[in-house]
Subunit: 361 residues, 2 copies
C-alpha cells in the first residue's frame, strides 16, 4: 500500500497511542525520551510528515501569514530587461514594490515564527484569490485595490486583514469593516518635492502627470503638488496636466511628448506620479535633444532602484516599502495576540525626498 502514513501508522509501529505521537511533535518534552525516540524512529522509517491541514483544522491556526498583491508586471520593464537596454539582459534586476514588501513581511514573519503565503491576483474562476489565501492563513495583508472592498469586508470579520498603501476609503468606517491600514505620506512627499523645485531651483512652469484610474495614492501625490504650488502663489489646475492609463515607461514617454508638444513654452519641469513614467520621459527628452536638467527638470516618485541607475539619476520620493511589510506583520501579530477587538489602526509611514541629478541637485 502506498497511502501516506498518519499518526495511526506511526503509533501502531511504535507501540504507543496517537496522542503520544502528536505530543512528540508538539511538545517533545512532555514525552519520555525513550518513548520519543521510538516514535521518531518509526516516523522516519515510514516517511511520516505531519499534515499541516489536519493540524490546522484541529488546532484552528495555521502559523502562516499571507500577502495578496496585484499582478504588477510592467510590460515595458520586462521587455527592457529582456532586450538588455544599455547592458546585458538583466533577469529583471529591479525590485518591484511587491518584492520589497514580500521581503519585509518574510523577515518579520520569520521573527514571529510564521511562514508567508504569497499570491498575486489573477481571478481564477469561481474562487477569488483572496478567498483561497484567506482560508489558509491566520491573517494577511492586501495591497490596495487588489481585492474588492466588499470581499475584504466579509473576510475581515473572521481574520485580521491589513490593507497596504491605499488610504482608507470614504464611508468605510461606517460599515463593520475592521481593516487595519498602513500607508505612506504621499501628499507630504510630493509637497516637499514640488516645494524644492520651486523654492530651491526657482522653477515655476510645472507639469504634473498622474494616472487615469483614481488611485488614492496618486491623488494624494497630486494634492501635495497643488498645495506646494498654491503656497508659492503658482496657479495650478484641479487635475494633473496629463493622466495616463498604466503608469508605465511607455506611457510616461508619451506623456512627456504630449507636454512638450503643447502650445506655448514647454514646462520647465515634468513631475511624474511614479518613477517608471519619469524614466520613460527621460527617453523622450533624450530623443529630442533636450538636456535634463538644463532644459527640463524631471522627477518621479517611489524610489525604485532603477531611478538611481538611469542617467541623469532621478530625483524622486522614496517610499519605505520594506518597512511597510514589516509593520504589516507586526500589526497582524498584535491582532492575533489578543488585540482582536481594538479599534482599527491606521499607520502612516514617512517618506523622504531623494535629490539627484534630474532636478539639478
Amino acid at each position: 500500500m502506498t497511502t501516506t502514513p498518519t499518526v495511526y501508522d506511526v503509533a501502531e509501529r511504535s507501540g504507543v497511542s496517537i496522542a503520544t505521537v502528536s505530543r512528540v511533535y508538539r511538545n517533545p518534552d512532555s514525552v519520555r525520551a525513550q518513548t520519543r525516540e521510538k516514535v521518531l524512529a518509526a516516523a522516519r522509517e515510514l516517511g511520516y510528515v505531519p499534515s499541516g491541514n489536519a493540524r490546522g483544522l484541529a488546532s484552528r491556526s495555521t502559523g502562516v501569514l499571507g500577502l495578496c498583491f496585484p499582478d504588477y508586471s510592467d510590460p515595458d520593464a520586462e521587455s527592457e530587461a529582456e532586450a538588455g537596454v544599455g547592458d546585458e539582459p538583466d533577469d529583471n534586476a529591479a525590485m518591484l514594490y511587491s518584492d520589497q514588501i514580500i521581503r519585509g513581511m518574510e523577515r518579520a514573519a520569520r521573527r514571529h515564527g510564521y511562514a508567508l503565503l504569497i499570491a498575486a491576483s489573477l481571478k481564477s474562476g469561481p474562487e477569488t484569490l483572496v478567498a483561497k489565501v484567506a482560508g489558509r492563513v491566520d491573517g494577511f495583508a492586501v495591497l490596495a485595490r487588489t481585492v474588492p472592498t466588499e470581499e475584504l469586508e466579509v473576510i475581515s470579520r473572521r481574520r485580521p486583514v491589513v490593507m497596504l498603501a491605499g488610504p482608507r476609503e470614504p464611508g468605510e468606517l461606517d460599515r463593520p469593516v475592521r481593516l487595519d491600514h498602513i500607508q505612506v505620506a504621499n501628499a507630504d512627499g510630493q509637497r516637499e518635492l514640488t516645494r524644492h523645485l520651486i523654492e530651491d531651483h526657482g522653477l515655476r512652469r510645472l507639469a504634473y502627470v498622474g494616472s487615469a484610474e483614481d488611485s488614492p495614492d496618486v491623488e494624494a501625490r497630486f494634492r501635495g503638488h497643488t498645495e506646494a504650488c498654491r503656497a508659492a502663489g503658482i496657479a495650478v489646475a484641479d487635475a494633473p496636466d496629463v493622466r495616463v492609463g498604466m503608469m508605465t515607461q511607455a506611457e510616461g514617454a508619451r506623456a512627456a511628448a504630449t507636454l512638450l508638444d503643447g502650445p506655448g513654452e514647454h514646462p520647465e519641469a515634468l513631475l511624474f506620479a511614479n518613477d517608471q513614467m519619469a524614466v520613460g520621459a527621460l527617453h523622450t527628452l533624450e530623443g529630442r535633444g533636450l538636456r535634463v536638467p538644463q532644459d527640463v527638470t524631471v522627477t518621479g516618485f517611489d524610489g525604485i532602484p532603477l531611478s538611481r541607475m538611469v542617467r541623469p539619476a532621478l530625483t524622486t520620493v522614496r517610499q519605505p516599502m520594506r518597512r511597510m511589510g514589516e509593520e504589516a506583520v507586526e500589526l497582524l501579530v498584535r491582532r492575533l495576540n489578543g488585540q482582536e477587538n481594538k479599534e482599527p489602526e491606521s499607520l502612516t509611514l514617512p517618506v523622504s525626498v531623494v535629490r539627484r541629478a534630474s532636478c539639478g541637485c
Copy 2:
C-alpha cells in the same frame, strides 16, 4: 456566539444541505443559479470563509507550492544599505538570490493556479522549518544546504521536492531519495571567465578566493577555474588561494588585503567565487590607491544587481536565478500531474559571462 461560521451555518441559513454549499464554492455551475445566490447571500451575511485546512484535509491537496531558503542576509549589505554608502539609504535595493527565485516561482506557480509558501530556515524548536512547510504544500523547492539531506529524504518519499543549486550529493542515488534537481553550470561559467582573462587580457598571475565551507557550487566554480588555467598551461594550486567563511563583502575585502600583502608580486587578477566578495575587494583596492582594472583585475560570480552598480562595474558570471525558480515550479507541477514515479530529473541551466569594466573590457 462568535464562533466562525461553517458550511453547516451557511447551509442552515440558506435552507440547503452542506453538500450544496460546498458545491457553490467548488463548482458553481453544478448548482442552480437561484440556489447559488441564496447560498452566497447567506455566506456573505455570516462572513463565511471556507477553511483551507478542512478543504485540504478532505481533498488531500492544498493548491500551494513551497520554497525553503537559508537565512541569506549579508550583514554587510544590510548595514551598507542603512549607512547609505555613496547615496541615500537604499532600503536594500539589491535583490538577493532568494528574491529572484521567489519571483520566478511565484510567477510560474500563479500560471498553474498555485500560491507560494515561503519560509527561510531558522530552526525553531522541535519542528524544523521544512517539516512545517512540507506539511502545508503539495510540493516544494529547497535551496541547497538549507535542510539536512536526511530530512529531505524522508519528505521526498511523500511529496515532490526539487533541490535548487546544489549538485546531487555523491552516493545519494543509492538511497531511496527521489529528489529532482536544478543547478547552474558553475564550472562552465568560471572556466569561460578565467579563459577570457587569460586569453583575451593576457593575464597569468591569477588568485582565486573561495569559501571555507565545502559548498559544491563554489567547488565547481573553482574547478572551472583550474581547468581553464591548466588548459592555458598556467600552474594552479589544488585549492583556492584564500578561503573565507561567509562570502560577504567584509570577507572579500579582507581576502583582497591578504592577497596583496602576500610575498612577491601581487596577482594581476583577483577572482572571487561571488559578487559580494568582489565588491568588498574593490573597496580594499580603492583604499590602497590601486586602480581597477589597470593595476588589478577583479571578477565576481552571480551577476547580482550590485555588480553592475559599483564602479568599476564588475565582470562576473550571471546565474539565471529567476528562471531556476520557474523551472522548479514546472518540475513540481509535472510531478504532481502524474509523473510521480519517473526517475529523478536533473536540469542544468546555462550561465553567461558578463564582461564589464573591472576586467578591462
